[in-house]
Point group: C2
Chain length 372, copies 2
Amino acid sequence: MMNLAILGFGTVGSGVAKVLAENAAEVAAGAGEEVRLKYIVDVRDFPDSPFAPLLVKDFAVVENDPEVGLVVETIGGCGVALTFTRRALQAGKHVVTSNKQLVAEHGVELLALAKEKGVNYFFEASVGGGIPLLRPLFNDLSANKILAMKGIVNGTTNYILTAMEQSGKELDEALKEAQALGYAEQNPDSDLDGTDAVRKACILADLAWGRELKPEKVPAEGIRGVALQDIRNAASTEGAIKLLCRLIRQEDGTVYAWVAPHFVPKTSMLAHVDSAFNAVVITGSAVGDVLFYGTGAGSIPTASAVVGDVVDAVRHKHAPRGIGWTDAPLTLGDPDTLPARWYIRSGDSWSITEAMPAGMLPQAQVRYRVLD
Amino acid sequence: MMNLAILGFGTVGSGVAKVLAENAAEVAAGAGEEVRLKYIVDVRDFPDSPFAPLLVKDFAVVENDPEVGLVVETIGGCGVALTFTRRALQAGKHVVTSNKQLVAEHGVELLALAKEKGVNYFFEASVGGGIPLLRPLFNDLSANKILAMKGIVNGTTNYILTAMEQSGKELDEALKEAQALGYAEQNPDSDLDGTDAVRKACILADLAWGRELKPEKVPAEGIRGVALQDIRNAASTEGAIKLLCRLIRQEDGTVYAWVAPHFVPKTSMLAHVDSAFNAVVITGSAVGDVLFYGTGAGSIPTASAVVGDVVDAVRHKHAPRGIGWTDAPLTLGDPDTLPARWYIRSGDSWSITEAMPAGMLPQAQVRYRVLD
């Protein structure tokens, strides 16, 4: 039997507790042994929760309990989440997380520590929420050189762009509605400015190419500049405006990474990914394009990925998977030097250009790459 | 170092040899050791192939070579493929296959034999070609109860339906062109009649629910009855005609399984899966709908999945994954009793009905379920 603790009883943490309870039989069958939730660590009280008896306030209880072999970190951010993850790994416990910021910024250190301690550090839920994506990338596609990845990895911005198209509203109004419905945070900066998408792009690149891509190295343009007009122009020619993360690796090893709104023709599956859904296309040297699509956020879908990681970590408790990347940086190229067709608009006048690098573009108020 | 042999040097077998050679570094990194192709078994001669020195005609050479720890079976069918697979497993060798007919018809026996011998029997390429699909199903989604699966799992028929829509040709002509281009076999019966899709549906059901679904239990309607008119009618209301495999599990455990053309509205991602691409939607109790999309056939894409299996089999050579299902049959319900909206046509007159079971439908020349 494997005992585990959940750190942080918020949206994801409570979903993990629920999924573990509801699908205990499936989890045990997958893991090869019973998986028991022993503690939930949170500074808050949850007197009405059925899980209240498991709540403790002090992480040291978990850290010092030799029965606890696995810790699920769903606190978020790089504060106590980093401290507790380090301490859990130091104590020889497997760690599973949904924390993309922590993995993107401290993955090298934490994966090295996990390796040193002979435990697993898994983070499937950090990109694409519930969608099986990272494990297929490093597992099923292991016969491939990964040539490129692109995707819609931020559900909030995709929800807003879809709402603008469907309801004819400008961004500010669509954002307010998304906030009212819980699809956007009260402080939506990291979503709207592309920061969240950058973190996910970095994790994809790290895993695919074995070297670190630091978030601050990735140029990001968010969706604040997207006008309803742009969305209507795209729709009028069978296209859609989508916030994409893009990763392209050239044969010499140079990687081009960026996050920006794109003009996506409807011939691409990505143009049909609406609302809060996510999708990522991975291009492998053997398989060609494969696409993974599903719910990129939410308590229970994200918990599906976290608990999937728990199962795999327990199954491999004596033979950790040894995924990871080095702190040797990827060699980066400037995306603006890559030729692309562009959607450009000034005032009401818009057009699609021939393929050219950004520097050759005419002056324009709005310029978004066309996904070819 | 793991030595392996490929049985059958046809489309898939030659692709596997090529991918192993070209991506040797990635394969070794994934597997944790070098993977070396030692033999290729085929009764034919390939004097011009760079792999000619590895060719042997007698399977016994492989069977009796203790250095060979893994066999890749890409012969197809249930004749020598079955015999050789049994003998390889008996000899304690891991087996990886792309042979959907063999897995669908003899999976119970072969997986039990693999378990008895402590080796892996993997078949990712048997459904969806290169798309990571089966491993995500039994691995990443292990925290879920699988509620339903549906998909486009036959590239030949999807190519023909797409060609009919795009070029305005009737089925017979589109089929001839597909044959000329290599997208359809000279004898296309198993594709056109849905037999191939049924086998893949059975493998999905077996894996998801742990009991055997026999191909002969699955009602199948192929695409021979689809007229250009039907495709145009669907397109006129933002839909497409797609051959889908459908699997639905009710809470009491009853499974409804069938293969038939469907009227798929463009609001579904499946409506946008064109040409020879495949896609499968898996509905999990926690994750909701996830979709996997990519190239469902072809030498190198299929080899990507086969070699991915090789990597996983080598990595787990001392701790086989223990996937499998029992020969206890699934409890099956009659799909015709499930209410659905229907596209019905008689002559030039067509309509979409309210939801009803098949038995309540008015007389009609053509009746296809609407995917809701």
